[in-house]
């Protein structure tokens, strides 16, 4: 399982701090306080920005003999753009509950579920159609 994500919050915070100090030639105590205040504000506000900013996460998931290889739980943040790329050695239908997305995956035809993780919670992905339906993956969307 691989995933790609950029870390916006720390980038915002460090840039804000550096600019503030460069504009003022004298880094007095007042400046220091001002910079600190900005840094603190940035640190508090950053998660807010991060929720708005598009964070794209791509997961590559391969199913072998009806079971997922690797960890069965994926954790993401609310607001992230998620892409689940499925491949399977057998044709099957996958259903992400809660978000209610269904895809058909076959050995020759990998499939993808793309969506914005807008609802927090823990959502199972179940293979549908005939036989048992134990979830093969859980998607945890954390607030």
């Amino acid at each position: 399982m691989t995933y790609v994500a950029n870390t916006l919050p720390s980038a915002i915070a460090s840039r804000g701090q550096r600019q503030a100090c460069n504009e003022n030639a004298f880094c007095t105590r007042r400046d220091f306080l001002r910079v600190t205040a900005i840094a603190v504000f940035a640190a508090i506000a950053a998660p807010g920005f991060a929720a708005d900013a598009t964070r794209r996460k791509v997961f590559t998931l391969s199913i072998v003999n009806g079971a997922l290889r690797g960890d069965d739980t994926i954790k993401v943040q609310q607001g992230d753009d998620i892409e689940l790329r499925w491949s399977s050695d057998k044709p099957m239908e996958l259903h992400l509950h809660g978000y209610d997305i269904e895809v058909r995956v076959a050995p020759s035809a990998p499939a993808a579920m793309s969506f914005k993780a807008s609802i927090p919670g823990r959502f199972p992905v179940e293979p549908h159609g005939g036989g048992r339906h134990h979830p093969i993956l859980y998607l945890e969307v954390h607030p």
Partner: protein, 526 residues
């Protein structure tokens, strides 16, 4: 990219336990839909979850679970320290007579009560009919949402938080009372019931059986969300209840055998209101406001069968959460891979029993037995603990482990009520929304009586923070109330030895509360 906010027409699938039913086009010919429903009823999904609907709650974060457990232990000592008074507390408590107020008197008049009862009967008939003749997709039929969400979760919450509403609305009681009235009018005042004396030794054991059957149906039965099966279960239970009311009489069966009247009655003891009908001892009816939980204080030990009933309720509520943890899944795997067990289970599956259902049924009964055993053992330890610590001679026969257990059992109820609330409130708020489209289309026939048939359920209505902090707050609060009640019971039972004597019981309460929190901290697995 699929937009989540604009869900497809298969929105009813979001809680799907019944995958084959999901892509039902609403405009499909009725015959075809019925055939599809019948097919999927046979290919029942083996997913085991409580009643109906699926919870998508995130598990409690570790730090919150530990904080809750820590607060539980700390507050236990605080309550003990605050209420160290060694004098016995009398059973009286402050009450506000609500019938003093004209508004309440006006609202509680005979006509209003009769109207509410008639409405409840109408709803019962509508629900049963929907189950028997309506669309067999569980999310398009009123009966599944009505039984598992509105009635079992909603009425239980109302009884615990407001008052014994089940006695007011119970449609089985109302219908039988109507039949009694009609019979008396026709025959000139003869009683419909045969009036056999209810045998005292039977206690509330019939209610224990009813509740065990119900708990099995709620937690394990594969057809619990097949509308027709649920409708048949409803009608059969009603018939059995009326038969028993006919043999004995209405009120004694409601008190001993109607499992739901007994169960909701236990929850209503926690409620902040109390209704007492006029009788020989009570000159006129009373409707009082009281502090929550005081109804659980008893002046006399309850009967053995009633104690078993309360512990069965507690055990099923805990088992409900437990069977969704990965520990239960590991137990399942272990039993199925053990040689002797798998041979036994295979033999049973030849007879048509599902292997995991057999395991879960066994676990449910084991939970109930374990609850009774552990509780009785704690009571036994309590007595010997006091005797050992204080050199107290237990007077022969007066205070036994059984009387101790029967005196303390109701003090555990607040913890169970709190766990029940935390476990279910997000489900009530999400799956409860199914009622909005169902009001317009109760039979799933494509009607739109009030223009709400197209309503889409909003899953994000309960934020995880509300769920987490709410759940932990409610459970810790329930624990504090339970500890206080146990303290009062200990004072009454052990007098000046109360502080020492209550320690085993309080340890049990801490363990029970911590177990409840632990279950909420486990990720829900299929």
């Amino acid at each position: 990219m699929a937009d989540v906010t604009t869900r497809s027409s298969t929105w009813k699938c979001i809680h799907s336990l019944f995958p084959l039913n999901c892509p039902f086009p609403r405009r499909m010919p009725r015959v075809a839909r019925f055939l599809l429903a019948a097919m999927s009823a046979i290919a029942t999904s083996p997913v085991l979850a409580h009643g109906f609907g699926q919870r998508f709650d995130l598990p409690l974060p570790l730090w919150l679970w530990l904080t809750g457990a820590g607060a539980t232990i700390a507050l236990t000592f605080v309550v003990m320290a605050v209420f160290v008074a060694e004098r016995p507390v009398d059973a009286r408590y402050p009450r506000v007579e609500l019938l003093r107020f004209p508004v309440v008197r006006w609202a509680a008049n005979g006509t209003t009560v009769a109207l509410i009862r008639a409405l409840a009967v109408l709803l019962f008939v509508l629900t049963a009919c929907a189950g028997l003749i309506g669309n067999q997709d569980p999310y398009s039929n009123l009966i599944t949402t009505m039984v598992w969400i509105v009635w079992w979760v909603g009425v239980a919450f109302t009884c615990a938080l407001i008052g014994d509403v089940w006695t007011l609305v119970n449609p089985l009681r109302t219908l039988y009372a109507w039949a009694e009235g009609a019979y008396a009018t026709v025959t000139g005042g003869r009683s419909l019931s045969r009036g056999r004396r209810y045998p005292a030794w039977l206690g509330t054991w019939p209610a224990v059986l009813v509740f065990l059957g119900f708990a099995w149906a709620e937690l394990i039965w594969g057809n619990k969300d097949v509308p027709r099966q649920l409708g048949i279960a409803l009608v059969v239970y009603a018939a059995l209840t009326w038969l028993a009311m006919f043999v004995f009489d209405r009120e004694s069966w409601l008190a001993h055998g109607e499992g739901f009247s007994v169960a909701f009655g236990v929850l209503a003891r926690f409620a902040p209101t109390e209704f007492v009908a006029a009788s020989r001892d009570v000159p006129r009816r009373r409707f009082d406001l009281r502090p929550p939980g005081v109804g659980l204080m008893t002046s006399r030990p309850v009967s053995w069968s009633f104690m078993a009933f309360v512990l069965l309720m507690l055990a099923t509520v805990t088992f409900d959460g437990f069977q969704e943890t990965s520990l239960m899944q590991r137990i399942d795997t272990a039993t199925q891979s053990s040689h002797a067990m798998s041979a036994f289970l295979f033999a049973l599956s030849e007879w048509g029993f599902d292997e995991s259902r057999v395991t879960h049924t066994f676990m449910l009964v084991a939970f109930a037995v374990a609850f009774v055993a552990i509780f009785w053992l704690t009571s036994w330890v309590t007595l010997h603990w006091i005797a050992g610590r204080r050199g107290l001679r237990l007077q022969g026969g007066e205070l036994t482990a059984s009387t101790t257990a029967c005196s303390f059992v109701l003090t555990l109820v607040p913890i169970a009520v709190a766990y029940h609330l935390s476990h279910y409130f997000s489900l009530l708020l999400t799956a409860g929304q199914f009622l909005i489209p169902l009001v317009s289309d109760p039979f799933g026939w494509g009607w739109d009586l009030f223009g709400t048939a197209g309503y889409k359920v909003n899953l994000a209505i309960v934020s995880p923070y509300v769920f987490w902090y709410g759940a932990v707050g409610i459970i810790v609060l329930g624990h504090v109330i339970a500890v206080y009640l146990a303290h009062v019971a200990a004072l009454r039972l052990f007098g000046r030895h109360a502080l020492i004597g209550e320690i085993p019981m309080l340890l049990l309460m801490v363990a029970y509360t911590t177990l409840s929190l632990w279950i909420l901290a486990q990720p829900i697995v299929g």
